[in-house]
Amino acid sequence: KNEISPFGVDFEILVSLVYIKALLCSVAADIISTVEFNSTGELLATGDKGGRVVVFQREQESKNQPHRRGEYNVYSTFQSHEPEFDYLKSLEIEEKINKIRWLPQQNAAYFLLSTNDKTVKLWKISERDKRPEGYNLKDEDGRIRDPTTITTLRVPVLQPMDLMVEATPRRVFSNAHTYHINSISVNSDYETFMSTDDLRINLWNLEITNRSFNIVDIKPANMEELTEVITAAEFHPHQCNTFVYSSSKGSIRLCDMRASALCDNHSKFFEEPEDPSNRSFFSEIISSISDVKFSHSGRYLMTRDYLTVKVWDLNMESKPLETYQVHDYLRSKLCSLYENDCIFDKFECVWNGSDSVIMTGSYNNFFRMFDRNTKRDVTLEASRENSKPRAILKPRKVCVGGKRRKDEISVDSLDFSKKIIHTAWHPSENIIAVAATNNLYIFQDKVN
């Protein structure tokens, strides 16, 4: 009865996730700013505020330790971005990695794009297990040989050595953004990617760094007329000509690059009419979309705003198909969340491999999962103190007013400094990565 295929996730799995490992505790002192699985799920990359990228590799299956299959261990660590200073504008450019995106694998090496506020870089991560040996002018100990004693030529021979993983910067895509880059997305044509800042979207060829095309520009002639900014953008997973971008006003625009070289005019516009009864000072802030993601199938869109996650059908622009409350209990606390700036937190959201479950973060190291079929949901906690390795996670509950039951947490005791902004879901299996400040938690369903 409980046989579960990787693509048939249901609620059973949501509540049977087991804690695998808190990964980064010793590796990164810095706050994790992005988490991303590669297309096979064998690798997992994180970026942090210090400009560093850490790549984890999944343990290979081994007969004697079958349970270790789900574990991820550090594969490569490198400094992707350094802090810079723009002398023309007197601006500091932070090294913080805003986004990481993996490229489809093209040969034995792996490639990823990482970006900070201004510059996107293409990195190659490759293995080397041989090194050349034998010199003509030096002997084995490295001593220089007398040139007169060289009577034969020696061609170096490659000898096996310990596996070495190297990360090399392959391309730097810079000087194309006036504002801060919030998203990058690789196109399904394997040839181009886009980078998005607050007001513009640029299209790049992965092989050309000195030229990019601007495809969306919402900058008004007069900056005082500015009413909205772009918050995120993503390419369609299969249709190379389609992309969406979300705005701070809670709308999503879908553009077709076939129609025109400049996509200032959208072809679809998704927006939910505002409920007048809910209108308040905070309406606009909390309706700002912090993340937008296409489903793997390409049929649906998911957006995250401050209090909800919405799923949209590409064929219905008027309203979302599904709306899930992430932490509706915060509605009464918006005032204090505004004061401590938490209301501007940009939570991300992810789909599972089969698009049937969605996950997003909250406060107090809580993260939420919603099963789209059964409409059930669960709140889980990422913490080292409360989880033992391979123990099943206990669902958490937040109580609103009234009597607090055992195991429940009152809204007032939530810790707003512990937020889960970035999460990632393995592309085909039930393995999730949850970033909580400087810790990366990996959970996996029990069946494995």
């Binding site: 489809p104 694998q105 093209q106 040969n107 034995a108 090496a109 490639f111 190659k124 490759s126 080397r128 041989k130 050349p132 040996e133 034998g134 010199y135 003509n136 002018l137 030096k138 084995e140 040139p147 007169t148 060289i150 009577t151 034969t152 030529l153 020696r154 061609v155 170096p156 021979v157 490659l158 000898q159 050595m161 310990d162 392959r170 399904s188 044509d189 394997y190 040839e191 092989e207 299969h238 249709q239 190379c240 000509n241 690059m257 076939r258 129609a259 025109s260 070289a261």
Partner: protein, 648 residues
Amino acid sequence: ASGAQGPALVEGVGLGMAGADSDDSLYPIAVLIDELRNEDVQLRLNSIKKLSTIALALGVERTRTELLPFLTDTIYDEDEVLLALAEQLGNFTMLVGGPEYVHCLLPPLESLATVEETVVRDKAVESLRKISHEHSPVDLEVHFEPLVKRLASGDWFTSRTSACGLFSVCYPRVSSTVKAEIRQHFRTLCSDDTPMVRRAAASKLGEFAKVLELEYVKSDIISLFTALASDEQDSVRLLAVEAGVSIATLLPQEDLETLVMPTLRQAAEDKSWRVRYMVADKFSDLQKAVGPEITKNDLVPAFQNLLKDCEAEVRAAAANKVKEFCENLPEDSRETIIMTHILPCVKELVSDTNQHVKSALASVIMGLSTILGKDNTVEHLLPLFLAQLKDECPEVRLNIISNLDCVNEVIGIRQLSQSLLPAIVELAEDAKWRVRLAIIEYMPLLAGQLGVEFFDEKLNSLCMAWLVDHVYAIREAATCNLMKLVEKFGAEWAQNTIVPKVLGMANDPNYLHRMTTLFCINALSEVCGQEITTKHMLPVVFKMSNDQVANVRFNVAKSLQKIGPVLDSNCLQTEVKPVLEKLASDQDMDVKYFAQEAISVEHKLRFLLKPLQSVSPIMSVDRNHGFESNKTYNKTKLNPAARDDTLM
């Protein structure tokens, strides 16, 4: 851990050509080999570029058994090193023992054909194509074709994309069974999962079609072409357009209509502008490939649509092709087609909303006048030229002006000159200095076509005004422009019109303008000749040697050096030399330096003018001196006195 297995010292088995001679000759080779793995990329690159020297020293056998295996595994290196390696290996046949052993080069090239960097892969494929011709038919089937198959069925798309470029070179030279396999492999790659591979296949489809037998072109290639041209990714579809053009040239006329045209028609109306852009861009090739009948019936309406496309990029690409398309129309109906179908669209493009479209049109529209002849040009094209000459975008006006010669041949430029002048004046005073620079470059051409009177009357003052432009690049171009004008109009004209004005600037309070006088003299002395230079220019230069700004003084020294060859030796000795000697004892070190340099060059000059007797010893000293100082000292300076005096 390194010492565990010591590197095997390979005994010199067959040292080959160089090795046997003497041990001394080994040392430089030994250095080259060691530097193949130096930490410095530049040194590795140098070594790779001298790979043939290494191979020659090792001899063919060791090259095959030791060097190539080593190179096969060095694909970890930087792109530039790999690129150089891929290129070298294409010329390595003789170094591995001739065509008999050429297959030894396949393994390193195969590994290079799988790296992620496109330029390296392309170079590896190019070298593979090159050496494929050196394989015997048997080797081609035993060694080369299996490599192509391996690449074509590789796990990663990089190897599969590389395979696409190799089918066409081996196909003509293999047996019919292998041919069938090759066709099958190509077919598979055309429907590969990754768009990268489909794109590579689409871009090689035309080339592959060329080597196929006609029956297979009809049976195989057409279906592949149709499939690629309706691929879900527009990046694939657009590449199929070019393949379609190649295929069309291969097919007999009667098959074109049924086999190729439906797909091409569909491409010209594709939903994606990038595909339509590609059709517009390849339109002339397409026109040639399908012949006059289809052009008349199909391509003319298609071209009209492209000129009216909703996407500016497409219209611009089509506008670029207007002249070529019209030129290649069948002669019997050319004029009618242009007048009734093309010209109305062109008229609309003149007032297009997009400036790139207008400027693309402006760069070719003048060419239509030769095709249409005088009467049509005057009646229909002239109003369009005039409208474009008044366009708000400077690039449009520039493109018209730069192509004036076509119209000049047909109707003479006078017809245009009334509108031309305001357009030129406006460009000459444009706020963007690059626009001003562009128009200056057309000045000699315009002057030649408009004639000296018109020039003196209307344009001369502009040319002089540029000499005092506040951008150096403009002043420099203006100087060069004067020289070209003098070449056109002669020294006498120069003496009457521009020399007095140029020399007048020597008294300008601004030292930059005074220097412009010197720069003009540098440029003009040769074209004006000895008399004008000695009589009119030299006194001014001498006078400026007393200038209070050091920059002017050292430019005097430089000018004297430049105009030296124009002067006679007497003048050099009695007039130039004292001035230079005075400058050589100037307080300013830069003035001193340039004066001394001029003196040394002058020296040489005077000896050259004299009989040859005592020349050689002094010559060599001089040359040496000049060479050394040039190398170590080559700067200009701006001294404080000069800085007070800058423009604006």
